[in-house]
Amino acid sequence: MNLLFLFTWHRQPRSLKRKGRNVYDSSRRHWWLGLFVFGVVVFLGSAVLAQMYFIQESFDQLEGIKETSVPQYQEQLVNDVLKLYEVRQARYNEIISGGAAPIVVDTATSMNLIATTTEEMP
């Protein structure tokens, strides 16, 4: 199908039109023109409907944006830390009350230890 035909019909020589061929050509031209317009309308309509369909579809997948972030509560970690501090507390009390075995260093010693510097503890 040569669609250019639709737009070049008026350029046909009058002699052809007078001989009656233009009747056939004209009806054929109208037919293709109608089909073309129909196609354009269907195409545009489909595009609009498809877009609306996809918008409608995306409604179901809408996810709200949370401005407040909920921190994940690490219960096990908290329990472990609490247990650790309870143990430290018990040990500290034991040392202060004199119950803990003292560390005895009986050699002449001089030491200087520097722990790894931490800017901030977790």
Partner: protein, 173 residues
């Protein structure tokens, strides 16, 4: 030959077609803009619901962890509690049998916690100084020994001097 009737039909058909097309375009445009508006409003509602859900979850976590947070807070010093802490350490040092002197206090501002760096000088017998060091190591607070220097002589009962730099986290008030 194009008759008058054909011309009239053509014009009428064209007008009907154009009007229909215009109505179609108008209806489509209206539907499109309205659906966009609906979408943005739905997004707002979804955001609001998500926000409420987040707040609900946060409240639940806060309620469920009240006791544990209180318990944990006991192990983290606050700026107000520093004086009591130092008094207690000195009292404990006396119990152990060492002389403890606070040489310096250096607060530093941190992101989550403020940091307090305390330097102590401990003087006593070797055994007592070691016991005191052990006590400082096991302090029931979020703290650690950052620097340690011990000078000691021969024998168990000789005077030992320890310089300890203790780093303690302070809960921001």
């Amino acid at each position: 030959m194009i008759t008058k009737h054909a011309k009239r039909m053509c014009i009428t058909a064209s007008i009907v077609f154009l009007v229909t097309l215009a109505l179609f375009v108008l209806a489509s445009w209206y539907l499109y803009t309205e659906s966009n508006r609906l979408y943005s409003r739905s997004q707002l509602v979804a955001n609001h619901l998500a926000q409420r859900q987040a707040q609900f979850e946060l409240t639940q976590i806060l309620d469920a962890t009240t006791l544990k947070r209180e318990a944990l807070r006991n192990y983290i010093l606050t700026e107000v509690g520093v004086i009591d802490f130092l008094s207690n350490i000195e009292a404990d040092a006396t119990k152990i049998g060492v002389k403890l002197k606070t040489d310096s206090l250096k607060p530093t501002t941190g992101k989550v916690y403020d940091i307090l760096t305390v330097q102590f000088t401990i003087v006593g017998t070797k055994t007592a100084v070691n016991t005191m060091l052990q006590a400082l190591e096991t302090l029931p607070y979020q703290s650690h020994i950052n620097r340690l220097s011990i000078t000691t002589g021969d024998g168990i009962e000789t005077v030992t001097t320890g310089v300890v730099e203790l780093v303690i986290s302070l809960l921001k008030s």
